[in-house]
């Protein structure tokens, strides 16, 4: 029984992992782009971006999932996401990417704005272009500064993936809950916690390693 449950839960965890890794893959670069938008000198760019960030950070992710999944059908009468599991997955991914990109963008913005003005000026008087200044001087210092808050968000994301079951996205909690109905046992649902714990433990180790690798400068 235990082995069977473990195998089933691993299947469910695969769904969790898929949503987790693809969300990271898309939301990190998108977050960087949004952070540039939110720091743009022109208020025509900056204000709408800040408004979107406010909306996304100011409402529950679960609500965003529901609106993104049902919204196009309800308001526009179009079936944007297609049918079945793949449609649910796409909708969930879109909601997660937008949500996490907004959180990441604020972390990036904080990191970029914390770089002292003197670094830009030193680069400028040495004749570096804006591009060289960003990639050769600023970016690495930003990465060092944002590793701890990013690791926080990433570990939150592991657990947030469980919210996607609100639109019937198949993941580990969904799988765990199934045993209540099919076999009348609840412990598989509790057992899912172990999967989350192990995975976030591994991530903690990974981020600790990255932090250590970046500790050679201050």
């Amino acid at each position: 029984m235990f082995t069977n449950v473990t195998i089933s839960l691993l299947e469910g965890f695969f769904g969790t992992l898929k949503l987790f890794s693809l969300t990271l893959l898309f939301s990190l670069p998108l977050g960087l782009i949004i952070s540039f938008g939110s720091m743009n000198k022109s208020s025509i760019v900056r204000l709408p971006i800040r408004f979107i960030i406010w909306i996304i950070r100011g409402t529950p992710l679960m609500l965003q999932l529901l609106i993104i999944f049902y919204g196009p059908g309800v308001f526009l009468g179009v079936n944007l996401w297609g049918s079945g599991d793949s449609g649910r997955f796409t909708a969930a991914l879109v909601a997660f990417v937008i949500n996490y990109a907004c959180y990441f963008s604020e972390i990036f913005r904080g990191g970029i704005q914390s770089i002292p003005k003197g670094q830009y000026e030193a680069a400028a008087v040495l004749g570096l272009t804006k591009r060289q200044t960003f990639f050769k001087i600023v970016l690495f210092q930003v990465i060092k500064k944002i590793v701890p808050p990013i690791s926080n968000e990433v570990i939150t994301l592991v657990k947030d993936t469980s919210l996607a079951r609100v639109i019937a996205f198949y993941e580990i909690i969904w799988e765990g809950e199934r045993f209540i109905k099919s076999a009348g046992i609840i412990w598989p649902l509790f057992y899912t916690g172990v999967f989350y714990l192990v995975f976030s433990g591994l991530l903690t180790l990974l981020f600790g390693y990255i932090e250590k690798r970046l500790s050679y400068f201050k």
């Binding site: 050769k136 210092q141 400068f217 201050k218």
Partner: protein
């Protein structure tokens, strides 16, 4: 022939006129020190020369090449970068790049312009040479946070020299240092002066300025109040504000 000629330079921040028409010139190989109390505009003047601030009016010429005049106030990034090649800048807060070693800090900018492997090797050799000249041959592979303030500032001087600027500018190079560390930085600047490096030094170290400078400018309220040799300006000031300033400092 003057290496640098500044004429009628003006700069306003909002409604605050920081530079009210600065004109001076300097010869190649000379050391010019700019003295003055805080807010007199001396740092702003230096920042204008390095195009960290864009002046509102006036002209800046290096080697009779007009780099800045009010009508071309909208310089492109490319022009500004070209103009900056004439100047090197050493900051009060050093502003070394923390993720690079001392040597990497020095060679970073020249390396970006290198076209061949041999050129890169030459740049590295020259970087090592410069750091050795600064007395840092043992510290080349150290990161800035492993160096004392005085050592960091000497790396910053080597970094500025690595681009062979026509004029090396110092913005209060010892103000952020412990008193016991100022000596090693001043010694390096003195050596550069004795080798006829063209330098403009904004400083509060009056004694040092007298010793090292060929020419002194005393600024007050955005204008040059007094200009001359160290003997004239420091030992026999004629301007009331200069006298007052020096009296405060010598107390």
């Amino acid at each position: 022939m003057a290496i640098l000629e500044v004429n009628g330079l003006k700069k306003k921040f909002d409604d605050d006129e920081i530079l009210k028409g600065i004109s001076f010139s300097m010869e190649k190989g000379q050391t010019l020190s700019i003295l003055g109390s805080s807010g007199s505009g001396k740092t702003t003047l230096l920042r204008c020369l390095n195009f960290l601030e864009v002046p509102d009016d006036g002209t800046i010429s290096v080697n009779e090449d007009l780099l800045f005049f009010a009508d071309n106030a909208k310089l492109t990034d490319v022009q500004i970068r070209k103009n900056r090649h004439h100047f090197g800048m050493v900051f009060q807060q050093f502003n070394l790049f923390p993720q690079y070693t001392a040597l990497e800090n020095v060679i970073l900018a020249p390396k970006l312009e290198a076209k061949s492997k041999e050129e890169v090797n030459e740049i590295i050799e020259r970087g090592k040479e410069l750091l050795t000249k600064m007395g840092l041959s043992e510290k080349m592979d150290n990161y800035p946070h492993q160096l004392s303030g005085g050592q960091q500032q000497r790396v910053a001087i080597a970094r500025a020299l690595a681009l062979s600027p026509d004029i090396l500018c110092f913005d209060e190079p010892t103000s952020a240092l412990d008193p016991e560390l100022t000596g090693e930085v001043l010694k390096v600047i003195k050596e550069l002066a004795s080798q006829h490096t063209t330098m403009i030094i904004v400083t509060h170290e009056i004694g040092f300025a007298r010793e090292v400078s060929d020419e002194i400018i005393f600024m007050d309220g955005g204008v040059i109040a007094e200009q001359g040799t160290p003997e004239q300006v420091i030992d026999n000031p004629s301007n009331e504000r200069t006298k007052q300033f020096l009296a405060n400092y010598l107390k």
